[in-house]
């Protein structure tokens, strides 16, 4: 039997290639996603693995803000230089060096602009002279030694086209610096900064610019020989007292990896969902292909049965074929997956998320690929194989075996039941704001649609196909009949496209709603005429606000700063304003208390947060920032959740009194109504132009800025989904080619009866278009339902508006039809080229 199976595989090369392709695509999709996710994780953890110091000493944080040292911690603390001597004196310390690190440092490009890091931070560090403790390695030139020398990482140097010896301008949170680029370096083991840029100064300059004279952010320590890192950490804690955070290299890496996992959760989850979709679509493709292959071989298998093969043997023949094909397909698919990951890396790179880590196929990826390749193929082949075994031997005798499609009744009933339950769950979840219920409902609905798809295909093809005979005569009618011939196959062919478009549509609605929500929130809340903010949401120097305040025609300048605090032990974001000015900038809608109740000793809380914490006006809360400073604050008011604010608002006085960093997040500018708006605008422009990090935006521009992040995310999502649509196209191609092979005789007959090549091609194309349109329409309908449910349930997360991107959906439908045309190109050509004689004498 094994020999028969192998012979069979080799005898039908076209079939082999097509079904193998299905496995290859499925596996490539999964392997690619997994490989890419690995690389993404490695990149971020790699940044911290590079740390050179065995043990580090930092100011003690009251709590971990969970932002892995790349945050704009509002309440950072520092260490005195004298502590370094103390540390060196500790038993077991071989060497120790103070170290400075801060955000908000950018090298300007030759045009005087801040280089676009795509959201990654610009960091400034002090150059550590002790090589044992230096995480950076010089690549060219030398280390900076004076206040007019800097070194930058090689990635940034390459991006900006700077070479050692060039003159560069460096933006810092304080003054600008004109300096000579004296060296370039690589950071950490991989040189990976995930797109961030890093500028190194000599220690004194770094302190002056980034921290304060004689202060350090951290002290790095190397252990003496024979001293373990944990031992050394214990020594240091004992000697220095409890006021410091002492951690070993390993602890730090683990902590940061853990917190990173948190912040990367979204991307990982997304990619996993994507891998799931990939797996799903891939399995469908394989199942589909095998069903067709077995159907085509019915006569051959019946012959085997007639010659005395048992049902088991027939099943086994098909399964052995499947396993061989699965293993070969998985191997090729792994290669394809690597290529796909490479493509994804390039794509993410274009969005500023540079993946520095190399792509490696891990054992897990390989295992998954083979498992999926062979297991899915096996399962996909099992059902048709069983059906094949049931073929009566007499089928071999019948010349014109017509496989009548099985009835769809069971499918209809179960599909409708699942659909009804899911829809109820979805509606209930959306109304009640319960995300898990919505998720379950969404998944159920997807399953229901897949189950019902063959049932729905019949009326759809009848409806759309009604025009075909008028449009294209007999060719059109035959195309319609072909699409109707086997609704299961029509559904399966369009399934990949359906899923892809459902996701695109769902995310599209979510994205459009998010944009509309931003617009509405800004319209409702923003009172100021202009907003000044930094390109990547980075905090910037308060000089900007000071200068703007002095411009004639500016009535009010309100500053906004952000931070993280623990309120009664619960961590959350807060924003800080001058209570006298906040009303000029923002129209905050209060649900309880008064906005002007905000003062040095009070706090405002969002209605939702108050609900969660059980707070009401008049209560007192403990407010603690990361540097350990704390205050008791009285709740002066609650504000609505649609204001686009975080959970807490405090007064600027409290912020400053608790050691908040004097950097602004946003500066809101309100003009004097009597002033000439154009003149004031010009004056504002002149000031802002001097600070390349910041931009002046009016309400419209501000909306655009805020939408940019969402747009970027959407583009990314759509690019990934485009890939799944691509796979879908390949799926359609695959099924159509097999259909054409299956109908060889029929096509030959049509050609013999006088249908010319052009019409044969057109017939195949029309069928493909109808099938693709069906997939697209079903996907868009499903996606719309899911998108609306998701948007509704996320109302509390700030999705205050619901918007359906109708033109895009129409475009999606059109593209669905075009997909069919594209996918039909190869099969149509094949059908047109059929040799009439070969076709009619084919067996």
């Amino acid at each position: 039997m094994l020999r028969t199976a192998i012979r069979n595989l080799l005898a039908h090369k076209a079939r082999l290639v097509m079904s193998g392709l299905a496995v290859v695509l499925g596996v490539a999709f999964v392997a690619g996603t997994l490989t890419f996710t690995d690389a993404l994780n490695n990149t971020f953890t790699g940044i911290f693995k590079g740390a050179a110091a065995d043990v580090s000493v930092e100011p003690k944080a009251a709590f971990n803000t969970g932002m892995a040292g790349m945050d704009m911690n509002s309440a950072s603390a520092s260490l005195p230089a004298s502590l370094v001597e103390k540390v060196v004196a500790v038993d077991g310390v071989s060497a120790a060096t103070g170290y400075v690190q801060a955000d908000g440092v950018y090298v300007l490009d030759t045009n005087g602009h801040v280089a676009d890091t795509g959201g990654a931070p610009g960091m400034g560090i002090s150059w550590t002279t002790n090589p044992e403790l230096n995480s950076a390695t010089l690549v060219a030139g030398q280390a900076p030694t004076s206040s007019d020398e800097v070194a930058i990482d090689t990635g940034t140097a390459d991006d900006l086209g700077y070479h050692v010896g060039d003159h560069v301008t460096v933006l810092t949170p304080g003054p600008r610096l004109q300096a000579t680029l004296v060296g370039t370096f690589r950071y950490g083991q991989d040189g990976g900064l995930a797109g961030a840029s890093m500028t190194a100064f000599d220690t004194a300059t770094a302190q002056r610019l980034l921290l304060a004279k004689g202060r350090f952010s951290e002290i790095g320590v190397t252990a003496a020989d024979g001293m373990s890192h944990t031992e050394l950490a214990d020594h240091l804690t004992a000697e220095l007292g409890a006021g410091y955070q002492v951690s070993t290299k390993e602890q730090k890496a683990a902590d940061r990896a853990a917190s990173l996992e948190d912040s990367l959760k979204f991307i990982n989850t997304f990619l996993l969902v994507f891998a799931g979709v990939a797996l799903f679509v891939g399995s469908f493709l394989i199942l589909n292909t095998f069903s067709m292959l077995v159907a085509q071989r019915t006569r051959e298998l019946a012959l085997l049965r007639a010659l005395g093969a048992s049902r088991r043997q027939v099943t086994r023949t098909v399964l052995i074929e499947a396993v061989v094909l699965g293993l070969v397909g998985a191997t090729v698919g792994l290669g394809g997956g690597y290529a796909l990951a490479f493509g994804l890396k390039g794509m993410f790179g274009r969005f500023g998320l540079t993946i520095d880590s190399g792509l490696t196929l891990t054992g897990a990826t390989v295992a998954w690929s083979y498992l999926i390749g062979s297991a899915v193929t096996l399962v996909a082949a099992y059902l048709p194989a069983r059906r094949a075994a049931k073929v009566p031997p007499v089928a071999a005798m019948r010349a014109d075996l017509v496989t009548t499609p099985r009835p769809l009744r069971v499918r209809t009933i179960s599909g409708v039941v699942v659909a009804a339950l899911s829809a109820a769950g979805l509606a209930g979840g959306a109304a009640g704001g319960t995300l898990p219920l919505v998720a379950v409902g969404a998944l159920g609905l997807l399953v229901a649609v897949i189950v019902l798809s063959p049932v729905l295909a019949v009326p759809f093809v009848h409806g759309v196909g009604a025009f075909l005979p008028q449009l294209a005569g007999t060719t059109g009618r035959l195309a319609k009949e072909n699409a109707l011939r086997n609704p299961r196959r029509t559904a399966a062919t369009s399934s990949a496209l359906m899923i892809g478009l459902a996701l695109v549509t769902g995310f599209g609605i979510l994205g459009t709603s998010a944009r509309a929500s931003i617009d509405r929130t800004v319209d409702d809340v923003l009172r100021a005429d202009y907003v000044v903010s930094a390109a990547m949401g980075q905090p910037f120097t308060p000089q900007v606000a000071d200068r703007v305040r002095h411009i004639d025609g500016v009535e009010s300048v309100a500053v906004e700063r952000y931070g993280t605090a623990e309120i009664d032990g619960h961590q959350g974001y807060f924003s800080a304003y001058d209570p006298a000015l906040v009303g000029d900038a923002l129209a905050i809608d209060m649900t309880d208390g008064k906005l002007n109740g905000l003062a040095a000793g009070t706090i405002l809380v969002s209605a939702k947060e108050a609900d969660r914490a059980g707070l009401s006006v008049g209560d007192s809360v403990r407010f603690e920032v990361a540097n350990g400073q704390s205050r008791q604050l009285k709740v002066a008011g609650l504000y609505g959740d649609d204001n686009g604010l975080g959970p807490y608002v405090i007064a600027m006085d409290t912020y400053q009194a608790t050691g908040g960093v004097p950097l602004d997040q946003n500066v809101y500018i309100t003009l004097d109504r009597s002033a000439d708006a154009t003149d004031v605008h010009k004056a504002l422009d002149r000031v802002v132009d001097e600070y390349p990090v910041v931009q002046l935006r009016d309400a419209e521009g501000y909306k655009q800025d805020k939408r940019a992040g969402i747009d970027q995310l959407l583009t990314l999502i759509n690019a990934l989904l485009a890939l799944s649509v691509l796979i879908a196209v390949l799926g359609v191609v695959n099924t159509l080619v097999l259909s054409v092979i299956e109908r060889t005789r029929e096509l030959g007959l049509l050609r013999a009866l006088g249908m010319d090549r052009r019409h044969v091609r057109r017939m195949v194309r029309l069928e493909a278009v109808v099938i693709s349109l069906y997939g697209a329409a079903l996907g868009i309908a499903l996606g719309t339902v899911l998108g609306l449910a998701l948007t509704t349930v996320m109302h509390d997360q700030g999705l205050v508006a619901t918007a359906v991107p109708v033109p895009q959906l129409v475009l999606g439908l059109v593209l669905g039809g075009v997909t069919g045309l594209v996918a039909a190109a190869i099969p149509a050509r094949r059908a047109g080229r059929l040799d009439v004689l070969d076709a009619i004498s084919a067996t």
Binding site: G473, R485, L749, L750, G754, I840
Partner: protein, 283 residues
């Protein structure tokens, strides 16, 4: 019916042989058709200089041992395949001058086909299958003629059925109706009853015979069955790619007798076999 002189050794079946009806212009003819498959060791001469004419209204059966080139001759003459050398005509159209488009149109407009199996498009109803060639051509079938054809094959109650819902004999009748409905110059049928039981086969054959006699349809039919051949006006025998004999107004017995004669001489060379069969005892 009239002249029964035949079988001159070199040109066994040129126009001189049979009773031509009408103006004597053949519905189809071939001139020294040769078809060679393969190369070297695998070289097969399927047709070896065949010249034959089929006259309007005549029902011709082509017989011969398996592999003698019957199907090949039909395919080449119907424009489904190109000869290695020689020429053939449908009416006065010479086939070698036509490209794929021309041949396609020729098949569509002037030739009817009946194959042994897989004659029908499974997604179309019986009626739609019958009118398919005209639908493809964008022509309207003549309703009166169509009715006549449908009634002749007795398919009226089955017109809306799909092929899967028809018996093998009914399917072949649909195929016959289709071949006739467009009033082609000539119908080529390759073992049209090969898959049918003898009674159903007889119905089809009687139908083909009456189409030729009453409707004047030219028909060329390949068959292995002497009984089937007896329905024809004339039988042409092929062996090793050559026409070796022919009989007019055949009966099953005479055809069988002739075939037995072939069997006796089959193992010898082609020339030998030809020599042995040029005398036909019919009269």
């Amino acid at each position: 019916m009239s002249t029964l002189e035949r079988n001159d050794r070199t040109h066994l079946s040129t126009g001189t042989t049979t009773a031509a009806t009408g103006d004597g212009r053949p519905a189809a003819r071939s001139e020294a058709l040769t078809k060679v498959y393969g190369d070297g060791e695998a070289r097969v001469t399927a047709l070896d200089g065949v010249s034959v004419e089929f006259h309007p209204g005549q029902f011709t059966a082509i017989m011969g041992p398996s592999g003698s080139g019957k199907s090949t001759l039909m395919h080449v003459m119907a424009g489904l395949d190109a000869p290695t050398s020689g020429q053939s005509w449908i009416g006065d159209v010479e086939l070698s001058g036509l490209g794929d488009k021309g041949l396609t149109r020729l098949r569509r407009d002037r030739i009817g086909f009946i194959f042994q199996a897989f004659n029908l498009i499974p997604t179309l109803s019986a009626l739609e299958n019958i009118t398919l060639p005209m639908d493809i051509a964008g022509r309207k079938p003549g309703q009166a003629w169509l009715d006549q054809v449908i009634d002749t094959v007795g398919l009226r109650p089955r017109l809306s059925h799909r092929p899967a819902e028809l018996s093998g004999g009914q399917q072949q009748r649909v195929a016959c109706a289709r071949a006739l409905a467009s009033r082609p110059d000539i119908v080529f049928a390759d073992e049209p009853t090969g898959n049918l039981d003898s009674r159903t086969g007889a119905e089809i054959l009687a139908f083909l015979q009456s189409s030729a006699r009453t409707l004047g349809q030219t028909i060329v039919m390949v068959t292995h069955d002497p009984v089937a051949a007896a329905y024809a006006d004339r039988v042409v025998f092929l062996a090793d790619g050559r026409i070796v004999d022919e009989i007019d107004a055949p009966t099953a017995d005479r055809v069988l007798e002739r075939m037995k004669a072939f069997d006796r001489t089959e193992p010898t060379t082609t020339r030998g076999s030809m020599g042995g069969h040029d005398r036909d005892g019919a009269a």
